[in-house]
Structures are given as structure tokens and as C-alpha cells.
Symmetry: C2
Subunit: 458 residues, 2 copies
């Protein structure tokens, strides 16, 4: 079998579609074909061969030696073209369109066995993205995420697209996107193995509906998570939704308990929804892990700090008990402030007060990590004041810091100042607490593996 | 005692502060005073009297007869000025600043007893907003929410400000805002009573840290919820946070179980966080209640529909079993679509297909409410196609519809098209499911009250 790296790192790509064929209900259409070609021309740094089947047949391209083929046609035609590619020595295929029947999937499977060609899909809808070489087989114009170190593997095109849209609009840095669809060949295990070796990927996000070979998945994930965190959302956890997953991507969902136990065994961090998935991934890609349970909260408003304290406790963490020395230092410098955790440094706090309090708190051995809250409305805080949090994180690189510039407009104002920094930002204390929980879970996973003294991969 | 309506509906307001005094740590400052004056001049439709104590003393204003005084000074000075106002016949006061000690709070309490004056605060930070008459005692420039029918009562200035910022940036329609602070006089009960009679308020949101008189609160809320829904978030549910709430707004939080039981008894819908609070309020202000548990999901993407199905079940609702007639109608018209719920109407669906499928689904007696999902990325859907959902809601006004234009940028594109419509929009299926849950809970509350055959208020 060929390596799945051809899916992400080809030098030459052949795009096969039609400027005329349109399915009555389905994805094949001239627009889709045109958009993928347009995206690839705009973004891809390698060579592109375009084959419009309504103008010419696919022939004599062997000498061009494309490693990757992208096929955007109805099922039966997709299979014919896939066969031609396989025979001509193409290493990997992305099958965009869906609607394949079981026997058609079987024919594709046979093709991978006969030729060693790797197939992603069918029904990937969006295919693959590699921000490093500009490979982008999606049909969304101007949708290229920022370069970064989070990889996303999604079984569903829709869920992948959701994550893609979210990452694009928040400028969340992405290394690779892979939309798996029906997974007749390339699956989570192949992609995990590939991404674990990818130097550009630091965190892996998974959306999964089912697992074909649970044992193999757990075995692989256990190795991967020692090198980088893997986060997952599972779709089809309720019986009704599970039935639907079967017809959606031909997945057998299995019971949720079995699945959950499997993920735990694998060291994969499960999140409740897609927002928590990305929020946690951002924290893990930007901040050190959380080595203990004790969190300090530093806030310029009282109420949100109380909600933050609740959220910390609800997520299995603790409010740190600050040392007397820390409290004394803060209270001496700022009379009127009660330095009990959560610390309300009062609505007139600006960068200077945040700087001093953060320093004292981060130096306190009783504190493992910090949640900062900086509201703008009802306070004197200005967006640029938030830069002091970046400095604090640099001075104390072993303790994670997350920031909550709570609200709507005001969140965006602070986000603009800090989005390129290493400070993860959340618009609600509850979301920040869940991100801290992910940082804590990953610390525990790494610790457990180390204790078992299996030799850690380099 | 005077009525609390003077807090919201004064003809004349006196603003008392100083252009010189600044607390070392605290809110009193020339900027705050200046900003409140500026906001009031810009927004308020009544008359304003400004008293800058660094230029003149407060005297001879009795004949002006202001009903409301807003005081922005350090504690001791605030009390002095409040006393003058009370003596001069001012009906109600908003005390913006905090830092009051117990004995100072006691003096204010005495004042309300001696003069019948109503006091909101101290420590309200932001005071009150009434979108109907432009009353806005916050010091945030250009922060006037859109007119609408959601009222917000917050014990905490910070939490209130969070909600204010959120509602402003999402154009969520607001009737009144009240920031209660230390609640030495005007409290949740007074405000609930007032808002229940306010014709401009249809839904009431509460952020509370503690309740002084639980029995009275429950009694009042029970009456109010028969006329309009009341939603609440409670801060200080964990022991640590509860301790903090005590020093924050002098609240005794009580155990969470007691509180929860109290809210249930009162018919108040409790939400987990501030985002769910606003999301639920928007649903209740825009859509009919959900008369049964059975939800249909209509989506142009498969994966998010599966997550939606999970979320529906997790929130105590059910996936509706569509009638055979409904399924046949859809599948006959659109070959290739499997009309089992959740219905994946495939990524090439545009307005026409949504219109037809929504009509069939809403006509099905097995369906009580609908969650629509319309992704843009990975589909052919255009933002304007979403207008068909508004039409469907008008045709079938008895069944609630919520919409999930999932994602980041794409959510915003659809939001722009539908924000003024009566369709509540959520960027994640899980959030939409929680909103449906709130619609179901309120239907049950109303039903229960009706069954008890207590005469319903007109």
C-alpha cells in the first residue's frame, strides 16, 4: 500500500470533473468542479492537471506522474476514473462526491488492494487541506485557514466544514484538514499515524461517528498521544442518532459507554461539542499543560469571577489557596483589594495592576495555572492592557494562562490585540475552565505514560 | 415606600458626582462621572440636572422635583448626598459606586425607611437602562441596546455588563437593564413585580448570587411566570465561589440544592451559563412554546444533524418519528433523500427544497418543533435562502422553529439576513437544543399552573 502522505504532500495533482454533468440531488455539478479547480489554482504550490470529462476523456497522463487524483463525479463515473488513475500509477485519490452504494464501495476497496492506491472517501465532500503547500480540494472560495499547528480529521464533511469555517473566522492556526467521508480505505488510524509524524502538527482534533477496528485505533492512539494530544468529538451517541450515522457514513457507532472507555484507554481527550473541541485544541497548542489542580482567578469584575470559580470546581479543578505572602503582597500594594481567590482586582484595574498581581500569583507555589478575566464594559480596562498577559506568560512559561475578555464586541476588541499571541481567549469563564481541564487531562495522560516507563518516543 | 417605577420611568434625573474626586482603588473618578453625564445627555428623553460637587454644593433643587438621583461618589459622600436627595423628596436613587461597609449600608437602609425613598445599590456600577425612554446610567459610551422585549436583572455589575455587551453586539432586543449590586433595598422581588407589569417586557433574565427572602421570592416568581417566563443563572454554586459571593455583594448563597429546589418551585427556568441564559431568552421572546417533546431536524449536512440528534436527546427531548405520509412526500419529490429524522436534505439544497421539506414536516402531527441546520461551507446554500425559514414560521405559528447556521463567518452571514426576524439563531446544534428545551420547560410550567386551575392573570 502507498503511504497516505501522498494525500497531503503531492507535487502534482490531477483534478477530474465535468463542466456539464449535474446530479439531480447530489454534489456533482459544474460549479463544484469549477470552484475546486479555482481554489487549487489559487493556493496550491505544486502542479495541477485539469481534466474536464465533458471536453475530453482521461488518457495519456501517465507520463505526467500525478501522485494525487481528485474526482468530482457521480458514483459510477467516479469509479471508472478511479480505475484509470489506479492503473496509471496515481498514488492516492480523494473522492469528493457521495451517494455510493455498498457494492460500489466494495469495488473501490478492491481497487486499493489490487493497486496499492490509497483512497480518501468517497463522500469526503471537502477532501483535504494542507496549509504548508496550499493544497485545498474544498470548493469554498477564499477559504484557506491560517498556518498553524492544529490538525483536524473529520468523518463528516459538514462537521469538518463547521470546524473549517470556525477556524477561518477566528484565525485559528491549522496544519492539515482531512475529511474522511465513507472511509472505505484511509481511516482515523492511517491519519493519526501520519499526523503523529508531521512536524507541523502539534494537536490533533477528531470528529468520529464510528470506528471500524477499535483495537487498532486504541493501540495507535496510545502511541500518538505520547507525542501530541488527540481530542475527539463523537457523533451518534444516542440510539436515534447512531442509526442515522449508519446511513450517513456507513458507520457502526457502538454504544457510547464502550466508545468512551476506548477513548480513555487510548488517552484521547473527549470533548462535549465542537466548540469545546476547538477551544481545547487552541489551549493545548498555545500553552503548557497544567501540572496540578490549583487555579487562581484574577479578574477586574466580581460576578464573572464567581462564575469562573464555579466553573473551575465543576470541571474537576480547584480554587488555589494563595499563600499568605502572596495575599499580603497584593493587599499591601492595593488597599481595598481582597486578595482571596478568586481575586477581584476591581473595575479600575489597568495593565499595571494586572502585571503586578499576575506576577505574585504566578510565583505562588500553590498556584498551577491562572484564569484571567478582563471585561471592558463596566471597567476602565482598555484592549491594549491585555498585552501584559502575554508578558506574564513569557515570564512564567511553566504555568498555563487562559484569558476571558468576556462578552461580545469587547471580546472581539481584545481578540484583535491577542489573537497572534500564545494566550488562548474565551468569551465565557465556563469555556476557559473547560480549556484548563483539557490542559490538566493531557498532563495526566503524559504523566501516566511516563510512569509506566514505556520508552517514550523521541 | 415609593414605587420602583421611578427608577425606570423618571421625567427628571439629577446626576451627582465630581469632576475632581478620584478613589485610589475604586470606581469614583472624573471619567466615570463625565461618561454617565454624556450618556444621559445623548440618550435620555427627559430632563437632566447635573451637579458637579467640585464646583458647587447640592442645594435648592427641590423645586425642580427630580424623581431619580444617580450618585457617583465614594461611600461616605454618597450617603451625605443621598440624605439630601431623600429630604428633598427625590423618589429613587441609583448608587453607582461600591466599597460600602456594613454600617454604611445600614444607614442607607434607615434612609429608605425614614423617607420612603427607593435605593438601587450601592455597588450597582452600571445602574439602570430603559430603552423606551433612553435612560442609561452606564458609563459606557455608545452602549445603548436595541429596543426589544427582554429584561435583564443582574446582581453583579460585571455579569450585567457581560450581558449588556453581548446583547449590544448581537442586536438582541432589550426592554430594561437593572444592576442590583448590594441590594440594600430594591431587590429581585421588587424588580420582578415591576417587570411583570411592564408591557414592554416579555421575558425576564436574572443573574443572582443570593436571595434574602426565599419564600417571598418564590411566591412572587410563581405569579410572574404565569404571565411571562423568568430565566436565571446562579453564581456561587460551589462552596469556594459562595464564600466569595458573600464578600462580593454581601450575599448568602445558600446551598445549591436548596436554591435549585426553590427555583423549580417558583417556575423559574435555570440555565447553566450566561450564554444559555441569553440564548433561551431569545427563543422565548421570538417563538411559541414547545407543546410536546418531538423534534424534527432538517439539515443540509449529515454530521451536524447527527450531533443535533444527540443534543436533542441529551436535553430531554425526542427525535420525532415522522409519519409515513410525510416521509413518502419528501422522498417522492427528492429521490436520493432519506427522509428519516434527522432529515439530511443534502448539501445542494437551496430555498426551494427547504421550503417544501419544512412544510411537510411542520404539517406532520408527530412533530412538535423543528431545528433547521443550514451550513454554507461544504454546501450550495446561500444566506438569503434562510428567508424561507421565516416564511415557514409564519405559516405554522404554533410550532417553534430554531435555526443553526453553524460555524463562524457563515453564522454571521446568515445572522445578518435573519437577525430582525422571529427566528432564533445558534451557531451550534447543542445551543439550539438547549433553547428548545427552554421552550419546552416554559410550556410545561404554564400547563402545570393552568391545571392547578388557579385563575390566570389576564
Amino acid at each position: 500500500m502507498n503511504s497516505v502522505e501522498h494525500l497531503f504532500e503531492p507535487q502534482k495533482v490531477i483534478l477530474i470533473g465535468s463542466s456539464k454533468i449535474r446530479e439531480k440531488v447530489g454534489m456533482t455539478s459544474p460549479q463544484l468542479f469549477e470552484s475546486v479547480v479555482c481554489n487549487m489554482k489559487k493556493c496550491f504550490k505544486g502542479k495541477i492537471i485539469v481534466v474536464d470529462l465533458s471536453k475530453k476523456t482521461l488518457s495519456n497522463f501517465e507520463e505526467e506522474k500525478p501522485e494525487l487524483g481528485v474526482i468530482m463525479l457521480p458514483p459510477e463515473m467516479s469509479i471508472q476514473q478511479a480505475e484509470k488513475c489506479a492503473t496509471a500509477g496515481v498514488k492516492a485519490l480523494v473522492l469528493i462526491t457521495g451517494g455510493f452504494k455498498n457494492h460500489q464501495r466494495q469495488r473501490l476497496r478492491q481497487m486499493t488492494e489490487d493497486h496499492g492506491i490509497r483512497i480518501l472517501g468517497p463522500n469526503t465532500i471537502m477532501g483535504v487541506i494542507n496549509t504548508a503547500n496550499g493544497l485545498n480540494t474544498t470548493f469554498e472560495k477564499d477559504t484557506m485557514p491560517t498556518k498553524g499547528d492544529i490538525a483536524v480529521i473529520s468523518q463528516s464533511g459538514g462537521v469538518g466544514a463547521y470546524l473549517l469555517d470556525w477556524t477561518c473566522s477566528c484565525n485559528i492556526g491549522i496544519s492539515k484538514f482531512a475529511f474522511m467521508g465513507d472511509k472505505i480505505d484511509v481511516n482515523d488510524v492511517d491519519l493519526l499515524e501520519y499526523l503523529s509524524k508531521d512536524p507541523r502538527t502539534r494537536v490533533i482534533c477528531l470528529y468520529m461517528e464510528g470506528i471500524e477496528n477499535g483495537r487498532k485505533f486504541i493501540e495507535t492512539a496510545r502511541k500518538v498521544v505520547r507525542k501530541k494530544p488527540v481530542l475527539a468529538v463523537k457523533g451518534g451517541v444516542t440510539r436515534e442518532a447512531a442509526n442515522r450515522a449508519l446511513s450517513h457514513t456507513a458507520s457502526i457507532a457502538g454504544t457510547d459507554e464502550v466508545f468512551d472507555a476506548g477513548l480513555k484507554k487510548a488517552g484521547v481527550i473527549r470533548t462535549e461539542d465542537l466548540e469545546e473541541l476547538l477551544n481545547s485544541a487552541v489551549a493545548l497548542s498555545k500553552q503548557p499543560t497544567l501540572k496540578g489542580d490549583d487555579i487562581a482567578i484574577v479578574s477586574n469584575v466580581g460576578g464573572p469571577a464567581i462564575l469562573a470559580a464555579d466553573a473551575v470546581a465543576k470541571n474537576g479543578l480547584r480554587l488555589a489557596t494563595l499563600s499568605e505572602a502572596t495575599k499580603r503582597r497584593i493587599e499591601t500594594r492595593y488597599p481595598g483589594i481582597d486578595a482571596s481567590n478568586p481575586i477581584d482586582i476591581i473595575a479600575d484595574a489597568r495593565a499595571e495592576r494586572y502585571t503586578m498581581v499576575l506576577r505574585h500569583v504566578l510565583e505562588d507555589p500553590n498556584v498551577d495555572g491562572v484564569m484571567v478575566i478582563n471585561m471592558l464594559k463596566s471597567t476602565f480596562f482598555e484592549p491594549e492592557d491585555a498585552l501584559t498577559i502575554v508578558k506574564a506568560a513569557k515570564e512564567y512559561p511553566k504555568k498555563p494562562i487562559v484569558d476571558v475578555p468576556a462578552g461580545g464586541e469587547d471580546f472581539n476588541l481584545v481578540y484583535k490585540v491577542l489573537e497572534k499571541s500564545n494566550i488562548p481567549l474565551y468569551n465565557l469563564p465556563e469555556k476557559a475552565a473547560k480549556a484548563l481541564k483539557a490542559l490538566r487531562l493531557y498532563a495526566k495522560i503524559v504523566e501516566k505514560w511516563d510512569k509506566k516507563s514505556e520508552p517514550r518516543a523521541p
